[in-house]
């Protein structure tokens, strides 16, 4: 097969706060053949995004060779002109929140699609052609869920019909169904002779979809697995994934989680006929009742966009509950001030990073936000904060040149680690259990860190916390939960005991198919 793209001896460094140099790409050589899918793997901060970004900004050194010719690509527009479509990872940088989908895509148009109505038409056609699901071109970006935003970003990369498609973590927020669709789309593109680079943390996905795999670690290429080796992995994906993880991390990755059988604790959180509207004022949580106990993980499964986000946001009063009640430790907290709710021992790892992180502030200042008010009085306990934040950085191995570096300079996964570290380490008030609400907590995290976070969630469960886990990752739900509630169209349509639930039974419920097993559970959950 012909090589379409070759990146040769690419180096790219960043200067950290305080002068330290981060070699994000250290002499990387990467080739892409025509008609292949090439997966790029590596831990958080390994330099994957930095590498593909070199296709729309100049690296410090090294050459980019496209179809045998040396090219200089200075901007995303240059990349487009050369037939390279890129779906970026950091959507806050590439999608304009206040604009509609159509307007965001219009920004790419170079003469051929200038009117908004033409663009909308083109988007609708493309959505059908590429089977990217339902999206309303006139919808503003800020109203979309994470997964929908990702699909817009993919559409943006595809709509110019590029020969080379680069997808930086396109599936981290997608449902299994959408991932399937995307993969069949990739197969089609491949058959048309196009080439695809895909960055992902799901090793199984990588093995399934790709022809070759390149693994990065610490800014360097560890290995490129050729077609034969990847083909061999396809036969034994489990073993392959372990092998890849080891390549990425450089040591054995802990795969099996420790999960103790525990006595259920007291009821920590209970909702009653909870009703919540979405940003457009449509009621998307329709009379939801459930409860979570101490020492218990309640997993809420469901296809993204069925009201999960609104549900959890209303519990911490990021969003108004329009009806029903929320009880914490038996007391009504519905629509109480955020601070009051959090002070009663509620931790929240939201999917919405914009509200969780202050990009221009330091890692330390971001970690502090959940702790600085723990001591009474007007002053910040500086010593304690330094100790706390340094400890969190270490324990969660947040990769940052210094605690004072702005979060903006961290890789995507390390940003998420900041939120997770902060929220998973809070202490409940004396004698009470912590309520931890985790909304897709492992989005964008590498294998090792994902396992680490899951283990931490289990540790919190052991320590007595009540955990409400919302995840569109079925594996995550199945491995962590004690009880599984499935949300469909704003309702909990079934509750299963995790010991008896199967992927199939949960999957059916996620699609809205109600069987008999579920109803029993639901009654049980609402009563008492």
């Amino acid at each position: 097969m012909v090589t379409v793209l070759k990146m040769q001896n690419i180096c790219k460094s960043f200067v950290g706060e305080g002068g330290g140099e981060i070699r994000a790409n250290d002499n990387i050589t990467f080739t892409l053949k025509r008609g292949e899918v090439h997966a790029l793997l590596g831990e958080n901060g390994a330099g994957k995004s930095t590498l593909v970004m070199n296709l729309c900004r100049e690296p410090d050194s090294g050459t980019v060779i496209l179809n045998g010719e040396k090219v200089e690509l200075h901007s995303p527009r240059d990349a487009l002109k050369h037939g390279i479509g890129i779906a970026y990872q950091d959507l806050s940088r590439t999608l304009v929140e206040r604009h509609t989908i159509a307007e965001n895509i219009l920004s790419l148009a170079t003469g051929f699609l200038l009117s908004p109505s033409a663009i909308e038409e083109a988007i609708r056609e493309a959505l059908v052609e590429y089977d990217l699901g339902e999206l309303d071109p006139q919808m503003s970006i800020w109203k979309l869920s994470g997964g929908e935003k990702q699909r817009v970003e993919i559409l943006k990369a595809l709509i110019t019909n590029p020969d080379i498609l680069i997808l930086d973590e396109p599936t981290s927020m997608q449902t299994p169904l959408e991932v399937e669709r995307l993969f069949s789309l990739i197969e089609t593109l491949k058959a048309q002779g196009k080439s695809v680079v895909i960055i992902t943390h799901h090793l199984g996905e990588a093995i399934r979809i790709s022809n070759r795999i390149t693994v990065l670690r610490g800014g360097k290429v560890v290995d490129t697995l050729d077609e034969v080796r990847v083909e061999a992995m396809k036969k034994e994906p489990e073993k392959g994934a372990r092998e890849l993880a080891q390549l990425m991390v450089g040591r054995e990755v802990l795969y099996d989680l420790e999960r103790k059988g525990l006595q259920e604790g007291p009821i920590v959180l209970a909702t009653q006929d909870l009703r919540v509207n979405n940003d457009m004022g449509v009621q998307v949580v329709n009379s939801v009742s459930f409860k979570v106990r101490g020492n218990q993980i309640l997993g809420i499964a469901g296809v993204a966009g069925n009201g999960q986000r609104e549900l959890v946001e209303s519990i911490v009063h990021w969003r108004e509950a329009t009806g029903g009640n929320i009880h914490l430790h038996g007391e009504v907290i519905t629509n109480k001030p955020i601070k009051e709710i959090r002070d009663r021992g509620v931790s929240f790892v939201p999917e919405n990073r914009k509200k969780a992180l202050i990009l221009n502030m330091s890692v330390r200042a971001n970690l502090m936000i959940s702790y600085y008010a723990d001591t009474p009085g007007l002053f910040v306990d500086r010593e304690a904060m330094i100790k706390k934040t340094d400890g969190l950085i270490k324990r969660f191995s947040i990769e940052t040149p210094s605690p004072l570096a702005p979060v903006r300079s961290l890789s995507g996964g390390n940003r998420q680690k900041v939120v997770v570290a902060r929220e998973l380490s809070r202490q409940p008030p004396k004698g009470e259990q912590l309520l931890l609400i985790a909304e897709n907590p492992t989005f964008g995290l590498d294998v090792a860190t994902t396992q680490f976070v899951r283990q931490e969630l289990l540790k919190m469960r052991t320590a007595g916390a009540a955990v409400l886990l919302v995840s569109s990752d079925l594996t995550e739900i199945m491995t962590l939960s004690d009880m599984i509630a499935v949300m469909y169209k704003g309702k909990i349509i079934g509750v299963l005991d995790a010991s008896s639930a199967t992927r199939e039974s949960v999957g059916l419920l996620m699609g809205g198919v109600v069987g008999e097993t579920s109803n029993v559970g639901e009654d049980e959950l609402i009563e008492a």
Binding site: R342, K354, A356, R364, A365, M368, I369, L378, P403
Partner: protein
């Protein structure tokens, strides 16, 4: 043939500019502001270099001028420091002028009501009243900023509230507080002796300067200075958070209304203090034109100083020097109001500099 031969790109800076860089960018913007005004001087047939030199010489190297510079610095520093606090939380108080004026009114009201109180009681009472009224004048701005239905509600309201303050002074000095021996001047009688703030003999530097420096230090120490990236107080931290990302602040449970109220009370109160000092320490009378735009100049002072107390001390000194050396402008045959030109053009470039600290421009020639 290619029409585009140069490509210009605007990029967000990944990291904050270093301290040195931010100083250099500010100095450059200052130089550009002075440059624009210099061009106007040239048009008037005045040699700008000579004029600048003279302003500088008079303001800092003559005894009279230096004393006048320090005297002008008192209200500017006080207003500028106060303004920097809400500015850091992204609340736009442009109405310090009004808050300054009501501070002066409060001073006059207290002075005329209790002329027989001993100075040690009367003067602190005047400052307290000035702070309170200035803060009161600022509180609606905070409320509009938080509850307002449109962006910029704080800007509009704070500006509009300048006028009632001004008209109130006009009414007072024409009515209840009219100077009976004023020969028709619209002014109040001289302040009672006990209410006059002590001045350094032979100058107009009044004791308020100590108060202002103390407040500057307090704000620097408790709200701004960070050690290991952590400010001294919770309030200081919360102001930073709200200023950088109000949504994240709200999500973490920080009450924006509380922050807006506190910062606006500090800011309005300090403008009020400046008003007290100005009438009781310098002018000794209430007149409608007591301010000459100090409240607006204070905005430029705050931004040029990088919203940082130490920087604001320098920038207030600079603008005070301009005001004090302003006599030279008159000597050159130009109206004194030319000083406003400095304010405007320097503010323009300083705000532009803010932009350059967040973004960088890259350009290259296309082949």
């Amino acid at each position: 043939m290619k029409l585009r031969f140069i490509e210009i790109k605007m990029k967000k800076r990944g990291e904050k500019p270093t301290f040195m860089l931010s100083v250099i960018i500010r100095l450059l913007s200052l130089a550009m502001g002075l440059g624009v005004v210099a061009a106007l001087f040239l048009l008037q047939g005045v040699n700008p270099l000579l004029l600048y030199f003279n302003i500088f010489r008079v303001a800092f190297f003559t005894q009279y001028g230096l004393a006048e510079t320090l005297s002008r610095m008192i209200p500017l520093l006080c207003i500028g420091i106060g303004l920097s606090v809400p500015f850091r939380a992204k609340i736009d108080n442009i109405g310090a002028e009004g808050q300054f004026l009501v501070g002066a009114i409060a001073a006059a009201g207290v002075a005329f009501s209790f002329p027989d109180l001993p100075a040690v009681l009367l003067i602190p009472l005047m400052f307290a009243a000035g702070f309170a009224l200035g803060a009161l004048w600022a509180i609606p701005v905070a409320i509009f900023r938080v509850m307002g239905k449109f962006k910029g509600a704080d800007v509009v309201l704070s500006f509009l509230m300048v006028f009632p303050a001004y008209l109130l002074i006009v009414y007072l000095v024409n009515g209840p507080w009219k100077d009976p021996e004023g020969w028709g001047f619209t002014q109040s009688p001289l302040f009672p002796v006990n209410s006059q703030i002590w001045q350094l003999p032979g100058t107009r530097i009044h004791l308020t300067i100590l108060l202002v420096l103390a407040l500057t230090f307090l704000i620097h120490y408790y709200l701004v200075r960070t050690k290991e990236g952590i400010p001294e107080t919770k309030l200081g931290y919360e102001i930073n958070v709200v200023g950088e990302n109000p949504e994240a602040g709200a999500a973490a449970g920080i009450n924006f209304l509380k922050i807006a109220l506190i910062t606006m009370i500090i800011s309005g109160g300090m403008a009020g203090l400046a008003g007290v000092g100005e009438v009781a320490g310098n002018l000794l009378r209430l007149r409608p034109e007591i301010s000459t735009g100090l409240g607006f100049t204070g905005i430029v002072v705050a931004w040029l100083g990088g919203l940082n107390p130490l920087g604001i001390i320098l920038s207030s000194l600079f603008f005070a020097g301009l005001l004090a050396g302003g006599v030279e402008i008159q000597m050159a045959g130009l109206p004194v109001t030319v000083i406003d030109l400095f304010n405007g053009s320097i503010l323009f470039f300083v705000l532009l500099a803010e932009f350059f600290m967040r973004f960088k421009i890259e350009w290259r020639i296309l082949k």
